[in-house]
């Protein structure tokens, strides 16, 4: 790789994939997010921490516009993804959600076969080529380290898997669509510590190819896996920066109180 190319790829690697400007979200009268500004870098893990009910999940669900499903929700501001505001009227929501995938707090595989779960996204996006589906299935199950365990029982019902396997399957289901960003809403909260550690390893592997934004209650988890950390309090983004800096020398008193355990 020449010097110039290397520089080029550095720049691309540090590109912001999502830029959030002046984002406010209201549920009826209640303001859940207050004027949030944040830059999400590509192929990094960004962790969002903070006490319950402080807007972390709302923020996450705004990025793929899952919040649209909630009655009475109102959004102000801009979320720029790939040079376009996702709140523009001509946004293709289905395509947006293909490119920005989501993993939920509780594993929620469909009560269908493992095969049907992983290929679900492809099928709803009109893919009918069986060979391509099988190829994607193998790749995404390999990417979440499930292929060896499950390759002989792809027709089994996904609800028969363990909690950890189910959560991996849910990640594979997202990866099969070839997303650019993966949103994770407390993906380990329903798992035991060893399973959590393995899912964290998985996130580390995945950041080679994907941008990950994770909401977590677990500060150790944020410190272990993330490159950047944002601290939310009462709908406000109090502080955002490199994870090392946030955890060793927070600038805001409120952040310090939270990470030292004096609050929350």
């Amino acid at each position: 790789m020449t010097e110039e190319n290397k520089e080029m790829s550095e720049i691309i690697a540090h590109q912001n994939i999502i830029e959030v400007r002046s984002l406010s979200v209201f549920y009826g009268q209640f303001q859940a997010l207050k004027d949030v500004n944040i830059d999400i870098q590509a192929r990094k893990i960004t962790a969002l921490i903070g006490p319950s009910g402080c807007g972390k999940s709302t923020f996450l669900r705004t990025l793929n516009r899952m919040n649209d499903l909630i009655e009475g929700v109102r959004t102000e501001g801009w979320v720029i993804f790939d040079g376009k505001n996702i709140f523009d009227e001509d946004t293709d929501l289905l395509e947006l959600r293909r490119r920005i995938g989501m993993v939920f707090q509780r594993p929620n595989p469909f009560p269908l076969s493992i095969f049907d779960n992983v290929t679900y996204g492809l099928r709803v996006h009109g893919q009918t080529d069986r060979a391509l589906m099988e190829e994607r299935l193998v790749h995404s199950l390999q990417a979440v380290n499930l292929w060896d365990e499950l390759k002989d029982r792809l027709e089994a019902n996904a609800l028969c898997l363990t909690g950890e396997q189910q959560q991996r399957l849910c990640i594979a289901r997202v990866l099969a669509l070839g997303p650019e960003v993966v949103l994770m809403d407390e993906p380990c909260s329903a798992l035991d510590p060893t399973a959590t550690a393995r899912i964290e390893d998985l996130m580390y592997q995945l950041k080679q190819k994907y941008t990950i934004i994770i909401v977590t209650h677990n500060m150790q988890q944020a410190a272990r896996v993330s490159d950047f950390t944002g601290y939310f309090l009462l709908g406000e983004l109090v502080e955002f920066g490199q994870t090392g800096q946030i955890f060793t020398s927070p600038r805001d008193r409120r952040t310090e109180d939270y990470i030292t355990g004096r609050f929350g």
Partner: protein, 286 residues
């Protein structure tokens, strides 16, 4: 204040007694029907009963085939009409309508179940039968008329049970699907309905039970000729109608043959329930 602890043993015993009483009553009825109906079936031959085409009780000819076919045809017709309409209504009310509309309409559908069957039959006789006679031909009293009336009558059952089972599907499935970029309709078709399948089948079974057992409304619109119907526009007699129409004056072996009709009905319902349950279990894949 310390309340005396209820005596668990006593409560258990009394509940058991009540439960056993209910089962006993059911058993006695079953035994009675079979005891009355079986001898005449044995005497004239099971084959003649099930596959004989002539029902002339005065000449000791007890062929039930026209009525068996009649019952199955009107039930099939009722399902063909009631299931698509019922499922579509349930899907609309749970997934596509506003919560207010759904809260308003569900009791209306349930009210339909409270209308006495004779009223359905009367409406059918006054409006549906003449309409069929004038527009499609035939006497109007027909398989088609009975199917339509029964199809409407089973709607409340199918709608209300389908709504309950669709609502029981966890929202996390819907979220998971929408988050993968599926449309609302894809989510319903590919995730929600499969997840609700066993409940939907249960609703259809109950609807089917209601259709095959309904008597009054069917008698009023079906024409009741004890012949194999030649088309959807020909009159038809069902097993239940057969009993209701002739019980007033039947005696001796004729009366026993009506009980035999009940036995056949009983067995058919058991078989249909069994098959439907089997299908539900197989398809849910567990």
């Amino acid at each position: 204040m310390i309340r005396p602890k209820p005596n668990d043993r006593l409560i258990r015993l009394s509940l058991l007694t009540v439960a056993l009483t209910a089962i006993t009553v059911l058993a006695v009825i079953t035994i009675f029907i079979f005891e009355q109906g079986l001898p005449v079936m044995v005497k004239y031959g099971l084959k003649n009963f099930l596959f004989g085409q002539d029902w002339y009780p005065s000449e000791k000819s007890f062929g039930l085939l026209p009525m068996i076919v009649g019952s199955l045809l009107v039930t099939l017709g009722a399902l063909l009409i009631g299931v698509p309409l019922g499922l579509a209504s349930a899907i609309f009310l749970t997934e596509f309508s506003s919560r207010r509309l759904s809260r308003l309409l569900k009791p209306v559908f349930e009210l339909l179940a409270g209308i006495p069957s004779v009223v359905y039959g009367f409406l059918g006789l006054m409006f549906l039968v003449p309409f069929i006679r004038e527009n499609l031909g035939g006497p109007g009293l027909s398989v088609l008329a009975a199917s339509i009336i029964l199809g409407i009558m089973i709607l409340p059952t199918i709608i209300s049970i389908s709504i309950d089972s669709i609502r029981a599907v966890p929202d996390s499935y819907r979220e998971g699907s929408i988050a993968l970029g599926a449309t609302k309709w894809q989510t319903v078709r590919m995730v929600v309905l499969p997840a609700a399948r066993s409940g939907l089948v249960a609703g259809i079974i109950l609807g089917m039970g209601r259709a095959i057992g309904e008597t009054m409304a069917v008698i009023m619109v079906a024409g009741n000729a004890a012949d194999l119907p030649a088309s959807w526009l020909a009159p038809v007699r069902t097993l239940t109608s057969n009993i209701a129409l002739e019980m007033a004056y039947a005696s001796g072996e004729h009366r026993q043959a009506l009980f035999a009709t009940g036995v056949v009905l009983f067995v058919i319902i058991m078989i249909l329930n069994f098959l439907a349950n089997l299908a539900a279990r197989k398809q849910s894949g567990r």
